[in-house]
């Protein structure tokens, strides 16, 4: 089966990505998806106007492929669909779409949970929060790291 793992430098349309996943999911009984949005404030409460997601010319795409492929190997899913922003993302805008289709809902839920826990720690991005005060590089949180360890 095929997976889609795409870097998107323009805005992400949740409707378009959902439609693509539904198209790739013919004959299954369950489709699950997650959307991550750029938060309007940092962990310390400062206003964030935009996130800047920097990528590597080849390694970022490769990391998305590896994570999507790992989900396909591990779970009985018939489709996996990941779309991830690069570049400038305004607060409130979608950063990532991760979805999966399976015969039954448990595998689809688990596959998307797996995708997000791995995307949050292993995907090769460097993110900066930018607000009126300053610019701050982000690292995975302790919660992100703990989530990754579950697998």
């Amino acid at each position: 089966m095929a997976f889609t793992a795409r870097l998107e430098s323009n805005s992400l349309s949740v409707e378009r990505e959902t439609a693509a996943l539904v198209d790739a999911s013919t004959g299954t009984g369950a489709i699950v998806s997650f959307v991550g949005l750029a938060r309007p404030s940092s962990e310390t409460g400062e206003q964030v106007d935009q996130l800047v997601l920097e990528v590597h010319p080849s390694l970022t795409q490769r990391s998305l492929n590896e994570i999507a492929a790992a989900a396909v190997r591990r779970f009985a899913v018939t489709a996996v669909h990941v779309a991830h922003r690069s570049g400038v993302v305004a607060a409130g805008e979608p950063i990532v779409f991760a979805g999966a289709a399976a015969e039954h809902r448990r595998q689809a839920f688990d596959a998307v949970d797996f995708l997000m826990d791995h995307l949050k720690t292993d995907a090769i991005f460097w993110k900066r929060e930018e607000g009126s005060e300053a610019s701050r590089w982000i690292e995975p949180s302790a919660a992100d790291r703990a989530s990754r360890e579950r697998w």
Binding site: I95, L119, A123, W126, I138
Partner: protein, 78 residues
């Protein structure tokens, strides 16, 4: 030798620089030299990864003339 940087390392070193390096030179030695140039210890973070010609390598890797060397700051994740 052309060396590129990603993530917060760019703030210290710029996105890339040219360096004359006498072979043989290991990645570990290169890191120390760069740190001395900028009086910065960002490269000492064990989570900084190094790529040579698109492949992840360790500090003991010996670089050759013409190699493309990249230092990747700890990733933020997606």
């Amino acid at each position: 030798m052309r060396i590129s940087f990603y993530g917060r390392l760019v703030d210290v070193f710029g996105s890339d620089l040219q360096l004359d390096v006498a072979a043989p030179c290991s990645i570990g030695e290169l890191r120390e030299r760069l740190q001395a140039m900028r009086s910065d210890e960002g490269l000492q973070d064990v989570r900084v990864r190094t790529c040579v010609n698109g492949v992840f390598v360790t500090d003991s890797h010996i670089v050759q003339e013409g190699d493309s060397i990249e230092f990747l700051a700890p990733v933020s994740g997606g």
